[in-house]
Symmetry: C2
Subunit: 363 residues, 2 copies
DNA sequence: CTGAAAGCGCTTACAG
DNA sequence: CTGAAAGCGCTTACAG
């Protein structure tokens, strides 16, 4: 056969139309399964389409329809477990609803976030899902999105002052429950290792701790509460210091699993048994919490679920409003975290019962 | 003002043309910075475009151009660290080359992989990057891609029999180096915990181990080589058994970090010191390897780099062929893994020197 | 149930 | 340097 790179021309509905002997518009209708076409003709057209290896051209259809069945998501980092899980959830919802997903990463840069918004508008996405970068202080670029009649859903790192649908974690409530769990296990002198206090997220987690302490009527020395303890080694040092006090903490709630790990090391350094003498619970349910000895209790943010729910705000509340009876006017949803009780915080109860660690579906 | 939802009509080049008083085609050229338009006119047009808040419509341009400046990637799981890192690398390369990225997840299902291919063809992507699902045995769907004049690059989980550009890890070489590292630390009775032997990836890792053993002229009892040891607890059990032998292993190379962790536990169970009495090195450089005590040595696959390189096969070798002098005919690239030496495999050398753990850039 | 016609917004030969 | 015209492949009122 004669070699040579003949550019295969793309098969279009016109080709099918010619082959079947009908009009292109009828082919389009048949392929879209419109009720106005006879079943016979539909089968005929579908068969011919398969035979000719026809592929629908989304660009043409999008242009004509003015809607792209595509969703854009912007996250600070794709390869951070929390966001990777969220994206997996979003992807799942998109797949179920026959939508495409375009992913952008701001890399925590405001400039790149603005560029990503620009890109998604140009791509004609129907909806943008965004978690703001650390640098983001203004919302003009979000306004751009809505100005172009594109739906907007913020999640996790959100600007509450901007009127859009919003999904967040229940940081305060989650912390409250984590501390209550420690209290239920008989711990009384519970220390807190927090994050940078100027970020709302960490402020909320601290507030949850304080609320639980207050509700239980416990007395906590001021130096049991330490901010900026997100990493392992600083937490290890700080915990060692506290554990050497005459009146030392008997438990630690840390807003980071890495800090929890540091505390675990400190306890082991000081010859204290976990969970018998010292209880520990962290935050985020990092993979490593399942492989330490003892395993570390933590707060799971159910990130994949959050991703699914974020996308579903668009699919269920915006695309098909009324289906669930809720108004589609600036919804504010809270994803409930769950306490993962592992060995580091579950004491053998006096009567011999031991609560089992909750099974976790990481999926 | 009269309330009411007037649908804002999208601003097009025609609107700009009318506002400036020139032809739409000239606006297009100005916006695309073609040399055939005067600088004066370009500035005028750009200013007006900004003023009117014009956004380029990619769907229209793609339809007209027949190219979408969009790349599609299909991975088994988005939220597995290895693939999340790869995607981050791909995204980076796409951003640098002004391309969009559409992400699909096969979820290890052949059926969903075929659907993803279908989707990407319909989206008119210029190139598909794919890592095959576990179920994938045939390549008709890959043929579909190339049939539609779409570029194809396979990475990591590839089908070597299908003629396309390919990027893989140097599994064999990496294992060889890992075992050599153990040997260099004075370990002599090195056990191997492998994976399912029917998968090429694990076969290669075993071969690398065998090659290094043979080259060093070491004698290894057959029962030191155990397949299907990817998880922590099975590895722990198997390692304990081996460590209780009269002539026990003095080191373990495992093809999974979870197995390495199981071995570490087993050593501790048996009262053996790591790394003094038992050396351990795993594979994948999971996050938790940095937080165990002792920290675990591992093989880093440099996944983010692999993602970047995969995308760059398209950008550098296909889009701009010849730029690097390489032919663009079915390239086969190998990404070199690196050995991350941590505490679990680095012995204090007799003369008092201690090799420092290599710094790792996880980025 | 089927078809003819218009048009989505852009790019690109071609002409001037 | 600028413009008029055609057309990418589809969908959608509208007519029959």
């Amino acid at each position: 056969m004669p070699g040579g790179k003949e550019k295969k021309k793309r098969i279009t509905i016109r080709d099918i139309a010619n082959a079947v002997g009908i009009a292109p518009s009828s082919v389009s209708k048949a392929l879209n399964d419109l009720p106005t076409i006879s079943e016979n003709m539909k089968t005929l057209v579908r068969a011919k389409a398969r035979e000719l290896n026809y592929k629908h051209n989304s660009n043409a259809a999008n242009l004509r329809r003015g809607t792209s069945r595509t969703i854009g998501v912007i996250v600070p980092k794709i390869n951070v477990a929390f966001f990777a899980d969220i994206i997996a959830g979003i992807e799942q919802a998109c797949f179920e609803n026959d939508h495409r997903l375009i992913i952008c990463q701001s890399d925590e840069s405001f400039e790149r976030e603005v560029q990503a918004v620009e890109t998604l508008i140009q791509q004609n996405v129907d909806c943008v899902l965004i978690s703001l970068s650390q640098e983001t202080k203004t919302t003009d670029h979000l306004k751009e999105i809505t100005n172009h009649n594109i739906q907007l859903v913020q999640f996790d790192r959100v600007d509450h002052t901007f009127g859009s649908h919003i999904l967040v974690n229940d940081n305060l409530e989650a912390s409250f429950k984590a501390v209550q769990h420690l209290i239920s296990q008989g711990y009384k002198r519970i220390a807190f290792f927090g994050g940078p206090d100027h970020l709302p997220l960490y402020k909320e987690r601290k507030q949850g701790y304080l609320d639980a302490i207050r509700k239980a009527g416990l007395t906590i020395p001021y130096n049991f509460i330490v901010d900026n303890m997100l990493k392992k080694e600083p937490a290890r040092t700080a915990a060692t210091e506290l554990l050497r006090l005459k009146v030392a903490p008997d438990a630690f709630f840390t807003v980071s699993d890495y800090a929890a790990l540091g505390v675990l090391k400190a306890a082991q350094d000081c010859g204290k048994k976990v969970p018998e003498e010292i209880g520990i619970i962290g935050f985020s349910n990092e993979a490593f919490t399942e492989v330490t000895s003892p395993t570390l209790s933590s707060v799971s943010q159910q990130s994949k679920k959050m991703g699914r729910e974020t996308a579903n705000v668009y699919f269920n509340h915006v695309l098909n409003p009324g289906a669930d009876g809720k108004s589609s006017h600036s919804l504010k949803l809270v994803i409930e975290s769950s306490i993962i009780e592992r060995e580091s915080s579950v004491r053998k109860i006096k009567n011999g019962l031991k609560k089992k660690a909750t099974a976790v579906n990481r999926e």
